[in-house]
């Protein structure tokens, strides 16, 4: 039995269904990230776990106990809010101790707990300051301290890094990961940033329009997306989704990619998914991540199925660590990820290696993965 179980959860506002039956579970000590575009219902889902919003149907269980009818303070959870929600009239110590104070914890015990958390988060020197005297990163730390001090069963994070600048965000991300590793707490974390989701999670739930599109480990989500939405949403730069056609010849199936004013590229697919045979002579969406489309020297040596084709390079974007090249296949701009020192010029033709063992196919009608 999982530690956190969400069963058939539905949430309606009047006639509008915000959450359309969510089933998610998380083991003890796990890190669940709810990710999706704005308006997908991820924050609402978090609020229902916290008890700040009521659910219409379904059940939420923590450690085998149904909590969906309990008051937020009785659920044994702690929450870190997007705006940090530090009480402006109290000092940092007051903020951290407020929850304990409300529960009638004696002052000496409170002080001990504050000191312990301050040590973990290295905010001991800030304890007597007001939130207005803190920087963004410090506020973030205090907000986490306020959650940590309670030692709850479940931590909830609502986009905690979205108010920080880019560099600080990376630092705090690492800090959260370290905190999770050292304290072994169970965390549910909401973000719209797929990199945060990939780096932090042990389990990811990709959401859209109040439904979980895919639920799995980061590797599953990244390598085996169940539909076009998940494939497109996760990963940066996004997966190339190229309109293509399936051709069958004597030896097996192959993928045909149209090109402007040139011969189409034909890529043989020996290890193609079995479902692909039904799409013979039909359009499919051919999905290949930029790192699976690279210069032949940079391609995986042990890739089981690598095909090389000459491509016309339109744009070259050196990004320092990598060089991105844009070519045109099937009427769409397609991004290839090359080594930083790849010798490549825009306007020329160059061979690109397709790692077809990493390629995925989608049905353009249903947008679902062809297996």
């Amino acid at each position: 039995m999982a530690f956190l179980e969400i069963d058939g959860l539905k949430k309606r506002f009047g006639n509008v269904e915000i959450l359309k039956g969510i089933d998610v579970e998380l083991e003890k000590g796990g890190f669940l990230v709810l990710v999706g575009p704005s308006g997908c219902g991820k924050s609402t889902l978090l609020n229902t776990i916290a008890g700040l919003e009521q659910i219409t149907e379904g059940e939420i269980r923590v450690d085998g106990r149904a909590i969906n009818d309990l008051h937020p303070s009785k659920r044994d959870i702690a929450m870190v809010f997007q705006s940090y929600a530090l009480y402006p009239n109290m000092t940092v110590a007051g903020n951290i101790a407020f929850g304990m104070e409300m529960r009638g914890v004696p002052a000496a015990e409170r002080q001990a707990a504050i000191d312990k958390v301050a040590k973990i988060l290295q905010i001991g020197h800030l304890l007597n300051r007001k939130p207005s005297q803190l920087s963004g990163g410090q506020r973030q730390r205090v907000a986490m301290g306020r959650a940590l001090v309670r030692d709850p069963k479940l931590f909830l994070f609502d986009e905690p890094l979205s108010n920080l600048d880019a560099k600080l965000r990376v630092d705090m991300r690492i800090e959260i990961k370290r905190l999770h590793a050292t304290t072994g707490t169970t965390i549910v974390y909401v973000t719209h940033d797929q990199i945060e989701a990939m780096t932090l999670a042990t389990k990811i739930a990709v959401m859209r329009d109040g439904e979980v599109q895919q639920f799995g480990t980061p590797a599953e989500i990244y390598n085996n997306p169940t539909n076009i939405f998940v494939a497109d949403f996760m990963g940066s730069p996004a997966m190339n989704l190229i309109p293509a056609k399936i051709d069958a010849n004597g030896s097996g199936l192959s993928v045909v990619l149209d090109r402007e004013a040139r011969q189409p590229i034909v890529l043989p697919m020996p290890g193609a998914p079995t479902g692909l045979a039904a799409f013979k002579d039909k359009p499919v969406i051919f999905g290949v991540r930029p790192e699976a489309l690279t210069d032949p020297e940079g391609a995986e040596r042990n890739g089981s199925n690598i095909a090389t084709a000459d491509c016309h390079i339109e744009v070259v974007e050196p990004a320092g660590s990598d060089t991105f090249a844009v070519t045109n296949l099937g009427g769409k701009g397609v991004v290839a990820r090359l080594r930083a020192d790849a010798n490549i010029q825009p306007g020329t033709s160059t061979p690109l290696a397709f790692n077809l063992s990493k390629a995925v196919f989608f049905d353009p009608a249903t947008e679902k993965r062809i297996l």
Binding site: A50, G51, L52, H71, P72, S73, I77, A78, M79, F81, Q82, S83, A85, Y87, P88, N89, F98, G99, M102, R103, R146
Partner: protein, 314 residues
């Protein structure tokens, strides 16, 4: 001058235009300020003059022999109607009325604003609209119904007095005035606090809920300590209105030694026996106006700030 002005001459003419603008603006502002402050000035200088000087001298001139006698007389000797004990008793009447009325109406307004923004219920906009409506009711139209209600409350007080030996303040003129002012202040105080709390981050309330704070704990520990600007605005507004109110005061406490300051001042000035003692009248009027002046001076800058805070979002 050539058709194309040189940058230097352009800059010079620009500076000159700015100077002229400044002179016009500050001149006008100064003029209005003088115009506005003139009556206060006349009152102040007159209150320190002797009657001789008032009758023979210039109204605007400073007192030749400043004297506090008119102030002392206004405070402790002047006649309001037939009783000649000065303004001091009525001054305390007003204080006894205004302090509870301001505190109660501000606290209830804050509570209303808190519920209307952070604990929304079905129909909260309708309730708020109806409370707003209270701001637009002319006070004259409620004089008679309110008198009836206060009369019933008074009779109920007598019943209680007979039954328990204590009337719980019902029927007392000061209590009546506090009640009336709380009821008619609620519309405004609710409006102020609702608009302020509308912009108040709801996440703080949620965080406090997760922390286990109750409805009133959140109100007392989170909302009120972060509401200083709007509390000041409301207190100034309510204090000024209630202190200066004449209509309710004269209607429900218009005679005897329960009169608030405003009614007493009117009686002092309208006393028709003997010579009109302008200096004493002016001193009495100054005493009546002092508390509101002090409140403005002490808390005035919060007043503007708080009004702005409410205005930006809401």
């Amino acid at each position: 001058m050539s058709a194309v002005a040189s940058p230097a001459s352009q800059a010079a003419s620009g500076a000159r235009a700015r100077t002229i603008n400044r002179i016009v603006i500050y001149g006008l502002l100064g003029l209005f300020a003088i115009f506005y402050l003139m009556p206060l000035f006349v009152m102040l200088v007159t209150s320190f003059k002797t009657m001789d000087e008032i009758q023979n001298g210039n109204m605007l001139s400073l007192p030749h022999e400043p004297t506090f006698a008119p102030w002392i007389k206004a405070w402790s000797e002047v006649c309001s109607g037939l009783t000649c004990v000065g303004m001091k008793g009525y001054f305390w009447n007003s204080i006894k009325m205004v302090v509870p009325a301001v505190l109660i109406s501000t606290l209830l307004g804050a509570l209303n604003g808190y519920v209307l923004t952070k604990w929304r219920f079905r129909g909260h906009t309708l309730v708020f609209a109806m409370m707003l409506f209270a701001c637009f009711i002319p006070f004259q139209s409620v004089l008679l119904p309110m008198a009836t209600i206060l009369g019933s409350l008074g009779r109920f007080g007598v019943t209680l007095q007979n039954a328990t030996g204590f009337n719980f303040g019902l029927g007392n003129s000061t209590v009546n005035l506090v009640f009336v002012h709380v009821v008619y202040g609620l519309g405004f105080t609710t409006l102020f606090f609702r608009n302020y709390y509308e912009a108040f981050p709801t996440e703080l309330v949620k965080a406090a809920q997760v922390d286990g704070a109750s409805f009133f704990q959140i109100f007392r520990r989170i909302m009120l300590p972060n509401s200083l600007p709007i509390i000041v605005v409301t207190v100034i507004y309510q204090f000024t209105n209630i202190w200066n109110d004449f209509l309710f005061a004269s209607a429900y406490a218009g005679s005897g030694d329960v009169m608030p300051m405003t009614v007493a001042l009117n009686n002092v000035v309208n006393t028709s026996t003997g010579v009109v003692e302008y200096n004493v009248n002016m001193a009495a009027a100054m005493i009546a106006a002092l508390p509101t002046l002090i409140v403005y001076v002490v808390a005035g800058r919060y007043f503007v700030r708080g009004l702005m805070a409410g205005a930006v979002k809401g």
